[in-house]
Structure formats: structure tokens, C-alpha cells
């Protein structure tokens, strides 16, 4: 279920009665309902599912996987046995 894709808000077209904006997906533009991301502003990235933004992408949290990778990078040095048994 639930194809959700990050896109960048390029404009906010209406606040009321329904918050709507235009979102760019690598240049492809589509009208998207922004009612569920009241905090999102132009240039913010949102996750869009069936024409609705369901969240704003958190820029800091988006880096977390790379922090995790850095940790794992360290694991490269460790031997397989220890990797399995680390706690």
C-alpha cells in the first residue's frame, strides 16, 4: 500500500477552505492537498500519497541513516564473529 513520494512545495495556492499547493517531483508538478501539513511552507519537502501531503520531511532526521552508516562503517573493522555477538 501507500506509495508516498517526497516532493518540494513550490507554491501555496489556497489556505481556505482547503489548503492546496503545487508540489514538484523532480520538475513534474501536481496540485496537492496540504491540509494535513499545516506547518509546511514553500520550499519544504512533503511526503505525498494520492494527492495529499501526509508529512513534512524532517531535514535533521533525514540524516540519521547516514549517522547509522557511519557507525556501521566502524563495524567494517570488526570481525564477523564480534559483529554477530555485539550487545
Amino acid at each position: 500500500m501507500c506509495l508516498g513520494i517526497p516532493g518540494k512545495i513550490v507554491s501555496i495556492e489556497a489556505e481556505a477552505p482547503l489548503r492546496m499547493g503545487r508540489v514538484s517531483f523532480g520538475g513534474t508538478l501536481r496540485e496537492v492537498c496540504l491540509a494535513y501539513v499545516p506547518e509546511a511552507q514553500v520550499d519544504d519537502y512533503v511526503i505525498v500519497h494520492v494527492g495529499f501531503a501526509i508529512s513534512t520531511v524532517d531535514e535533521d532526521e533525514a540524516q540519521r541513516v547516514f549517522a547509522y552508516l557511519d557507525e556501521i562503517g566502524d563495524l567494517d573493522e570488526l570481525d564477523p564473529d564480534r559483529a554477530g555477538g555485539s550487545e
Binding site: L3, I5, T28, L29, R30, V50
Partner: protein
């Protein structure tokens, strides 16, 4: 003879029967080929190559039903010229003559028709073909969609030249002439219910000059095919099936424009299955691969030409995509056209 398609499954034509996938293949194989057995249509490739007392000719036909009639980067008129001269070129033929059949819908704006026939003229002129015969039918309003076009082309094949899936050999390199999926996305943007904006032009273009440059450069060209409905993946499947060979491509070597990618991600489509109208793949001898790409890059529709894969020694007809992770997936024929996914 009873209808050989199990009609209990699909007693009626679905749009998917025209989608370039398995249903269409079934229709062609089971209905058309069966019916016409013994009198022709044994090849479903781009052009038939005909032996006449008078010499060797290539012949091809396509009907065009695109919506909207005019789209960024082209219109049904230029498309109908490009599609057909390209099919001739894919057989290694020099396109010479075209016929045009118009099926016009009552109510079509005359001005629009005029723009479109002018566009045909320009495209034919550029491709060096003459439109030698034509036909016009008008159908009741609501029984057409503005304009349906058929163009049928005849070209001359140099003696001894054999450009055909049957010439494909293990080890052959596969070169794609440019980024894929532009045409499909450019027209999809106008489909009711999907309405999005894609700041991109269709790739619709004549490939004739590029093909003959390849041949003239002495590249060992085994097989050529333009990418149309069903896109690159469908095209490769057809060649794999005809050649009886497994094909492997490096997926991330296939150029895809950012806008096309964005539209595909949004709709859940795979760009490898999205239609093109001015792209081709060339199967060439491995030692000629780089040079073939080089030659192509000398032409506007070949600017982004790249080697994307090769033919394997495996004789199980199959197309496999390798990705950057070193893993593979089967790029199978779809049932019909791709539909936008929610999932």
C-alpha cells in the same frame, strides 16, 4: 475456424489489448497470425522486408491515436511520420514513400487539421520521404477522437544488408540512443484524472539519418528497434523472444530525465516501460559498441546514447536488469499498459 483466443476470459477488446504487453501479443499471435497463416504477417517486427522481382523493399504500417493531438514537442502528424520512417530505418531501409490515411472526426477544427498536416509535411521533408498516396474518411462526432492517422511506408534495403533480430548473437552490445520515457510522460500529463504538469517535450523524432550514419560508418549492426508503446523493457523482450536470447542490461546506465523520473515516482510507474517515439536500441558487435554510441551522439536524438547491456549466451529468452547494488530483476512483459499505482 473458432476464435482461438479463449473468449471466456476476454470476450471483448480491452484497452490493454492495445497496450503493447502480453494481451496485445496474444491478440496478434492467436488472432491475427492464426487467421493470416499462410498469407503473411509472420513477422511482427518494425518492417516487413519484401522480395519483389524488382528488388528488396521494406514495408511498415502504423496507426496513430495519440491524445492530445498536439503535445509538447510534437503532434500526431509529425509522430505519424517519425514512427513510420523509423520503422523502415529499423530494417536498415532508406525510407522512400509514405501513404497517409486520415480518419477525421466530424467537428474537428479545420485550423488544427491544417497545423497537423503542415507538421507532417515538415517531418516528411526532413526525413526525405514523399507522401505519395492518401485517403480521407470522416466519422460521426463521438465516433473518433479528432484525428486517427495511418501511415504506411515503403523503403529500399541495400542488397546483402540484414538488420533483424535473427542476426543477434551472444556477446552483442546494446546501445540506447537517448533518455527514455519522455513521450509517454509528455502525453500522460494531459490524461483526465491524472492531470499533472511535466515541463518536458516528447522525444518524437526521425532516427533515419542516425541509422544510416551507423550503417555508413561500417558498424556491424545486427538489429535495430525503435522504442514505442511499452518502452525499452517491452522492446527488449520482443527482441529477446525473436532472437531466442537472454538480454542483460545495466539499469542505471539507461538515461532517464529528472522530470520523467519524478512523474514515474509520483504515479508508481517504471520508466523502462514508458513510451518513447524517437529512441531506439541498436544491437551491434561488441567491438563496435563504443563507436556506435559515438556516432549516435552526433545526432540530436542520439545525444545521450549509451551502451546499456549485452546479449548473453543463455538461450532462454528473457530480459534481466542489473542494478547498482549488483542485484538483478526480470524485466518481464506487462499484461497491458502500466496503470498508476497507489501501492
Amino acid at each position: 475456424m473458432p476464435c482461438p483466443l479463449p473468449i471466456k476470459d476476454y470476450p471483448r477488446i480491452l484497452l490493454a489489448h492495445g497496450g503493447g504487453g502480453r494481451l496485445m501479443q496474444g491478440l496478434i499471435d492467436k488472432v491475427f497470425k492464426t487467421a493470416f497463416e499462410g498469407i503473411g504477417l509472420q513477422s511482427t517486427h518494425d518492417s516487413a522486408v519484401l522480395d519483389l522481382d524488382a528488388g528488396r523493399l521494406a514495408m511498415t504500417t502504423d496507426s496513430y491515436v495519440v491524445k492530445p493531438l498536439e503535445f509538447p514537442g510534437g503532434d500526431i502528424g509529425s509522430l505519424a511520420i517519425h514512427g513510420t520512417v523509423n520503422d523502415l530505418a529499423m530494417a536498415g531501409a532508406r525510407p522512400r514513400y509514405l501513404s497517409v490515411g486520415f480518419v477525421l472526426e466530424e467537428g474537428l477544427e479545420m485550423e488544427k487539421l491544417w497545423r497537423i498536416v503542415c507538421s507532417m509535411r515538415d517531418a516528411a521533408d526532413a526525413a526525405g520521404v514523399r507522401i505519395v498516396t492518401g485517403d480521407t474518411k470522416v466519422v460521426d462526432r463521438g465516433k473518433g477522437d479528432g484525428i486517427y492517422l495511418n501511415t504506411t511506408g515503403v523503403g529500399v534495403v541495400a542488397s546483402g544488408l540484414r538488420v533483424d533480430p535473427s542476426a543477434v548473437e551472444a556477446g552483442d552490445a546494446i546501445v540506447v540512443s537517448g533518455d527514455v520515457g519522455r513521450h509517454g510522460v509528455a502525453v500522460m500529463a494531459h490524461r483526465e484524472g491524472l492531470a499533472f504538469e511535466a515541463p518536458i517535450e516528447s522525444d518524437s523524432a526521425s532516427l533515419v539519418a542516425m541509422v544510416h550514419a551507423l550503417l555508413d560508418a561500417g558498424i556491424s549492426v545486427r538489429c535495430l528497434r525503435d522504442l514505442t508503446r511499452g518502452g525499452l523493457a517491452t522492446c527488449l523482450n520482443e527482441i529477446a523472444a525473436s532472437a531466442g536470447r537472454r538480454i542483460e542490461i545495466q539499469e542505471d546506465a539507461v538515461p532517464v530525465d529528472e522530470v520523467v523520473r519524478g512523474a514515474c515516482e509520483m504515479l508508481g510507474l517504471d520508466p523502462l516501460y514508458v513510451a518513447c517515439e524517437g529512441r531506439m536500441v541498436a544491437f551491434v558487435a561488441p567491438e563496435d559498441a563504443a563507436r556506435a554510441a559515438e556516432v549516435m551522439r552526433g545526432f540530436a536524438p542520439g545525444e545521450k546514447a549509451r551502451v546499456i547491456g549485452e546479449v548473453t549466451g543463455d538461450d532462454r529468452a528473457l530480459v534481466v536488469g542489473r542494478n547498482a547494488f549488483g542485484t538483478r530483476r526480470v524485466l518481464d512483459l506487462l499484461s497491458g499498459e502500466q496503470l498508476p499505482r497507489i501501492c
